[in-house]
């Protein structure tokens, strides 16, 4: 897929294109709504399943399970099971996950800082649509 056999001008650029596609795939794998929210929630410390569920609030049990499994698969989250009754499962960020927390937080804080500008832009856009 994504042949794009043309435009092989320089080896440097060609490599860039390849890595670009790789990055794109990784980005689309990681950058979805739930992933970011879960990473952020786990950034405040290790949590058990339902505690995590409450922290995020709007997430369903299914999506949380699924997202956690993906994150564990990608090596960003560790899953520790304590075999007692009732069973305890604690999720925590791995070293890789903690490292990933930085760009995620950067994104979150950016949104926090500029949310007003965005909402204003939205109202401006909505108002402009009337004058058409």
């Amino acid at each position: 897929m994504l042949a794009q056999e043309g435009t092989i001008s320089k080896p440097g650029e060609q490599k860039d294109t390849a890595t670009c596609e790789h990055i794109s795939r990784m980005l689309s794998r990681i950058c979805d709504k739930w992933t970011v929210l879960v990473i952020r929630a786990l950034g405040r410390g290790p949590r058990r399943f339902n505690a995590l569920r409450r922290d995020i609030g709007e997430i369903s049990q299914k999506m949380l399970t699924q997202t956690l499994k993906e994150l564990e698969e990608n090596g960003l989250v560790s899953r520790t099971v304590t075999p007692v009754t009732p069973p305890q499962v604690e999720y925590a960020l791995t070293e890789l996950g903690k490292d990933f927390l930085r760009p995620v937080r950067a994104l979150a804080t950016w949104v926090a800082v500029h949310s007003d500008q965005i909402t204003e832009a939205r109202s401006v856009y909505a108002e402009a649509r009337i004058n058409v």
Copy 2:
């Protein structure tokens, strides 16, 4: 929605919860696959529609149109129409968009740097699943 009327312990925390939800909504609005890819593509300079389409490569016309419209609505992208035949429409990052480029790039570069670790974690995870 998202009532959650309990747990109003301290006004500070209560405000944090409110802003947290606000941020979450913003994040889920901005952080999807296409948005990030388009922002990144526009980060390399203003582009016209099909040029942008080629740059991203894997995006369909529908999704590009849709994503661009959302980004314009959020004030991150400007749309300049030059009324000629054939019509030219140039998309560019606004100042807000350029600013947003920073955390997005941070995310992208992080993925680029750690993609190997992620792929390795995936293979480790896959291998561990066999030993069950």
